[in-house]
């Protein structure tokens, strides 16, 4: 770990101000991802701004019947919230499908969205990785890439975004609220938060440097059933091989792209009356794969129709 300085932000405004003024500063919330990366010197911030105790940890009803989830609300807190459980069960299911109880107790809503990939070559600093060290190459491309992307990958990076929660939020059409370094509040669709890798996989979001996520806003739940299904190597505490969030007619896929993947083609096909089998086939027509992750295509072809049926009251 590299030496760094630390401050605990007194307010949301102070946090953003400090981030704007201090070179190479990073926010730290639960720390469950950032600290691991710092120990391995994958992240080497010179200054940490602790936002973990900022008073933006509540969950409140919005005027239109949705929910505003503070960025510091812990994953456990959100998953257990009665309103979330009853109106957004896909979100609870997705959160509890991730990590372990201890991690979810620390992990925050904002931090979860911005967690970095679990690509093994990203974690091994002896290997080339364009995301960790731009221009060094991509170790996974010709390597052991069983868990890499099948949508939107580039020759520079085939990593996936590992968050489960974000997949559910994507299916739920969530909005992200931020405070930018200039002090201006912004809000935009979660679909616009993460980027595809392109030539610059080190740039993972459309956030302005130093911009703080302050809340996630959920619109009223869409009509129809919801479910989150995650396929993994072991029953708990494992990254997904692929996952799907169903919320009414909305579909999002996880562990398949550099961002939570909204399956718009499949949704469109469903809306036009296609069967779930045909709908996911339409989405997968665009999928590409590397040497070892082709199974994800078969997996989704089989999983998504089952999940849609389950959301609509089929067998669990």
């Amino acid at each position: 770990m590299r030496p760094f300085t630390y401050e605990r932000a007194a307010s949301v405004e102070a946090a953003v101000k400090s981030a704007a003024q201090t070179p190479n500063a990073k926010f730290i919330a639960g720390g469950t991802n950032l600290l691991d990366l710092m120990k391995l010197e994958i992240e080497t911030p010179a200054h940490l701004i602790d936002v973990g105790r900022l008073p933006i940890a509540g969950i409140e009803d919005t005027a239109d019947g949705g929910l505003r989830i503070g960025a510091m609300a812990t994953n456990s807190h959100v998953a257990a919230d009665v309103r979330v459980r009853s109106r957004y069960p896909v979100l609870t299911q997705a959160i509890v499908a991730g990590g372990s109880g201890q991690l979810r107790n620390k992990a925050t809503t904002g931090g979860n969205l911005l967690q970095r990939t679990r690509c093994a070559y990203f974690y091994d600093t002896s290997k080339p990785c364009n995301k960790r060290q731009p221009g060094s190459g991509c170790g996974a491309l010709e390597g052991l890439n069983r868990n890499s992307a099948i949508f939107g990958a580039s020759h520079a990076c085939i990593a996936t975004h590992p968050s489960d929660m974000a997949v559910a939020l994507t299916a739920l059409d969530a909005t992200v609220e931020t405070l930018s370094p200039s002090g201006q509040a912004r809000s935009f669709s979660i679909l616009e938060l993460h980027r595809l890798p392109g030539e610059t996989p080190d740039v993972e979001t459309h956030l302005i440097p130093g911009e703080l996520i302050t809340a996630i806003v959920l619109p009223p739940p869409p009509a129809g059933g919801q479910v989150y299904r995650k396929v993994r190597d072991r029953a708990s505490y494992a990254a997904g091989l692929a996952s799907v969030a169903v919320a009414g007619g909305n579909l999002a896929l996880g562990s398949v792209a550099h961002k939570p993947w909204r399956a718009e083609k499949a949704e469109a096909a469903l809306a036009l009356g296609s069967s779930p089998v045909e709908a996911i086939a339409a989405e997968l027509a665009e999928a590409t794969h590397s040497s070892r992750n082709g199974f994800k295509i078969d997996l989704l072809r089989r999983l998504v129709p089952v999940a849609v049926a389950q959301a609509n009251g089929g067998e669990a």
């Binding site: 770990m1 590299r2 030496p3 391995l40 010197e41 679990r118 093994a120 974690y123 091994d124 002896s126 290997k127 170790g139 010709e142 390597g143 052991l144 069983r146 396929v231 993994r232 190597d233 072991r234 029953a235 708990s236 505490y237 494992a238 990254a239 091989l241 199974f295 078969d298 997996l299 089989r302 999983l303 089952v306 067998e315 669990a316």
Partner: protein, 752 residues
């Protein structure tokens, strides 16, 4: 030399078990320390003065040489005390041609510019704080000239050579028997490289007092490590005190020791200051040892009635470029089933990979994953219940050596397990049972693992309070050694368990070989029993000679030890009173055990039967175990609770071997892909469901004076095969390439 007949001598308090300490589910002696976080593991031991901290730098190529190491920036980094590479590390004893677990020899660190495997340690940085050492270690700049590593095992299977000093074993004429067999199985199974993943990484705290070294480290074999370290440092062994009091898992991976120990010793001498060095989790994966991958070719031939006529397992495995370790995946088959024509053997491929070595049940853990599935396949071909097929081929004597079995209750394990598990309700046709999205199947497999006894010593003391102290250079790697030694002492001297102290994990104590090969409890415990009997004798002599004792005059042979009281007929006194009068400073007796000269006249093993129920989601290829039962016959059980934990722990590892565990090599770098516990998946609680282990009543009087045997490695043997067989019963497909992950199972299901 002694005979097993000597072990029938009486009295034998362990066999008599009057106070009932033996077999009881006694809580762990050191349990409260561990669960309250107050047991000092090696890295946490407080040295006599503030320590410096070391961080190792590991090679980032798998083969080649170091052309330059620039340590200037590291040396200038804040707090740095010392930076060593192969260019300036102090002289050490030379590395021998061959290594093994029992012969001490030097294990020098940072020896040359040559790199033999990815993750080999190439430098050490010592600084005033761990943070400064870490920061400086990142500044060591190493330049390599890399060779293309030979790292794809499956491309070099034909290059396997006979392991040194070994031959294939053939009985009868396997080729002819197999060719003539009306029903055959001929398949290949693959098992992956596995890492031990002990909770506690290897770590050492070392300091010197003049020319005497004290090291606190995490190793399974005390005396071996002490002697090897002394030879490495080129000093007499008596100048090295090695302590290893609490060990956070070993599993064979701490059978030897690594650079943390050697470099901490050298650096603390150089700096005249205590030094702490620990491996990181990432360094554990490459820099210690692993279970190598295997490819196993199994051929079975049988009559239509189900009698095996031919049986063969030929294993190809790998080790490092300078090694000899062989994963003997074929060996167990030599004693398991009767068949007149048999062929077993191994081929070893030396590769540019990290060092291969023993991991829990070396041989059996991998080997049962093939043969015990092949038996399931054969049973199906024959239309015979897989358990009945095994019973049909149960041998009367060891099928290879013709020796009698010391005791063999394998059939009873299977029959009792079948009844408890409900094996009879198994659906013979795969893929018939469903529970929601899960297709349900059950499978079974046999378990076998050898049993050993090694030479060991022990001492017992009693003090003026009647408290017994057991002293032995033994280790407890989380298995329960402290606890079973206390039980043996309490039973032997007739004192309450609370009046026993156990001191182990110290090279100054009477030597025992340590923990490994499931010989620990039998070996250490037998020496303890002998020490206890000698202490009884010494106490008796004092009592009958002490005119102030009610026991004065004897007869000695009638003495009893019970509840802290010694008695002859109706004359008695407290043990503490006798000792206080006669030996206020306490009384000590030594004991020892040696293997009996005739012990090898019997074929001696531990046995078991596994029954598993799994669910398979045939949409996703996910497998979850739902129910597991193991029934085991492993001699007298010293402690129901710790033995059961060992057995269920092994069974859980079997689930991991079947479903999740394995590390893949990226051949371009010769390095392993999984470098932490988020990537290397061992089973978690949610993977296991219901689990139980039953231990049959048994005494093996050919094993040792207590009639006990090991359980540490038995549970894993066969467990994974039972899972694989259950998967077949659930969904009708077999994956012979472990672990059976969703991607592989899905491909098999889709190809069906």
């Amino acid at each position: 030399m002694s005979s097993v007949l000597d072990w029938e001598a009486t009295p034998n308090p362990v066999k008599e078990n009057r106070a009932g300490n033996i077999g009881k589910a006694v809580d762990r002696y050191e349990g409260p320390l561990k669960v309250t976080g107050t047991a000092p593991y090696a890295y946490e031991v407080e040295p006599p003065s503030p320590p410096a901290y070391g961080v190792m730098v590991s090679a980032e190529i798998a083969a080649g040489r170091i052309t330059a190491i620039d340590t200037t920036a590291a040396e200038a980094s804040p707090g740095v005390r010392l930076v060593w590479t192969h260019l300036n590390v102090p002289p050490q004893g030379p590395r021998p041609e061959r290594y093994d677990f029992f012969t001490p020899s030097p294990r020098p660190a940072l020896q040359s510019d040559r790199i033999y495997f990815f993750g080999q340690q190439v430098a050490i940085v010592i600084a005033d704080t761990l943070e400064n050492a870490n920061a400086a270690a990142a500044k060591v700049a190493v330049t390599y000239e890399a060779d293309a590593p030979m790292a794809i095992f499956h491309d070099h299977l034909d290059e396997g050579v006979q392991p040194p000093g070994e031959q294939d074993t053939e009985i009868g004429d396997f080729a002819a028997g197999f060719a003539a067999a009306p029903v055959t199985i001929d398949d290949v199974w693959r098992t992956p490289l596995q890492n031990h993943c002990q909770m506690e990484p290897c770590a050492t705290t070392a300091w010197w007092d003049g020319d005497h070294l004290t090291v606190n480290t995490s190793v399974q074999m005390v005396r071996f490590a002490q002697n090897s370290l002394a030879e490495t440092l080129m000093i007499p062994a008596k100048q090295v005190r090695l302590l290893t009091k609490y060990i956070g898992g070993g599993f064979g991976g701490k059978g030897s020791f690594y650079e943390d120990l050697v470099l901490a010793a050298l650096a603390s001498r150089e700096l005249a200051q205590p030094v702490k060095i620990a491996f990181t989790r990432q360094q554990m994966m490459h820099g210690t040892v692993h279970r190598p991958a295997t490819v196993q070719h199994v051929r079975l031939g049988a009559t239509p009635e189900g009698r095996l006529t031919a049986m063969s397992i030929m294993t190809v495995t790998h080790c490092d470029s300078r090694g000899n370790f062989t994963e003997h995946a074929s060996n167990f088959a030599r004693s398991l089933y009767a068949a007149p024509n048999r062929l077993t053997g191994h081929r070893l491929v030396r590769m540019d990979l990290p060092v291969a070595s023993a991991m829990r049940a070396p041989g059996e853990a991998s080997g049962t994953l093939s043969l015990e599935v092949a038996m399931d396949e054969l049973a199906e071909k024959l239309g015979i219940d897989p358990m009945e097929l095994r019973i049909l081929n149960e041998p009367d004597v060891d099928p290879e050596t013709g020796k009698p079995f010391s005791i063999r209750q394998l059939v009873r394990c299977m029959r009792e397990g079948a009844q408890m598990f409900g094996w009879g309700r198994r659906n013979l046709v795969p893929g018939q049972v469903r529970d929601g999205r899960w297709q349900i199947g059950v499978g079974m497999a046999a378990a076998i693992r050898g049993n050993m006894l090694l030479p060991a010593k022990c001492s017992f003391s009693v003090d003026a309070h009647g408290v017994i102290t057991v002293r032995q250079g033994m280790t407890d790697i989380g298995t329960g050694t402290y606890t079973v030694l206390a039980q043996i002492a309490a039973e032997t001297l007739g004192v309450p368990l609370g009046d026993v102290r156990v001191e182990i994990g110290d090279s100054e104590l009477p030597p025992a070989p340590g923990s490994g090969g499931q010989f620990g409890a039998a070996t250490a415990g037998s020496a303890a029993l002998d020490a206890g009997m000698n202490l009884r004798k010494a106490i008796t002599e004092i009592a009958v000679a002490d005119s102030a004792s009610p026991l004065f005059g004897g007869p000695s042979q009638d003495i009893t030890f019970q509840d802290g009281v010694i008695a002859i007929a109706n004359r008695s006194e407290r043990l503490a009173d006798l000792i206080r009068r006669n030996r206020p400073d306490g009384l000590t007796a030594d004991g020892e055990i040696r293997p009996a000269a005739d012990a090898r006249n019997w074929s001696q093993h531990t046995y078991g039967a596994h029954f598993v129920e799994v669910g398979v989601d045939t949409v996703t290829g996910e497998v979850r175990t739902r129910r597991m039962l193991g029934v085991f016959a492993a001699g007298r059980i010293l402690n129901w609770k710790t033995a059961r934990s060992q057995l269920t722990g092994g069974m859980i590892w079997g689930v991991g071997s079947a479903l999740t565990e394995g590390n893949s090599v990226d051949p371009r770098y010769g390095s392993l892909i999984n470098q932490d516990l988020a990537g290397y998946l061992v089973p978690v609680q949610a993977d296991i469901g219901e689990i139980d282990a039953i231990m049959l009543d048994e005494v093996d009087d050919k094993a040792n004076p207590m009639g006990i045997k090991g359980v540490g490695e038995l549970g894993i043997s066969g467990a994974g095969a039972a899972v694989a067989n259950a998967i077949y019963n659930a969904c009708g497909v077999r994956v012979r390439d472990y672990p059976i992950t969703p991607d592989k199972l899905l491909a098999a299901i889709m190809a069906r």
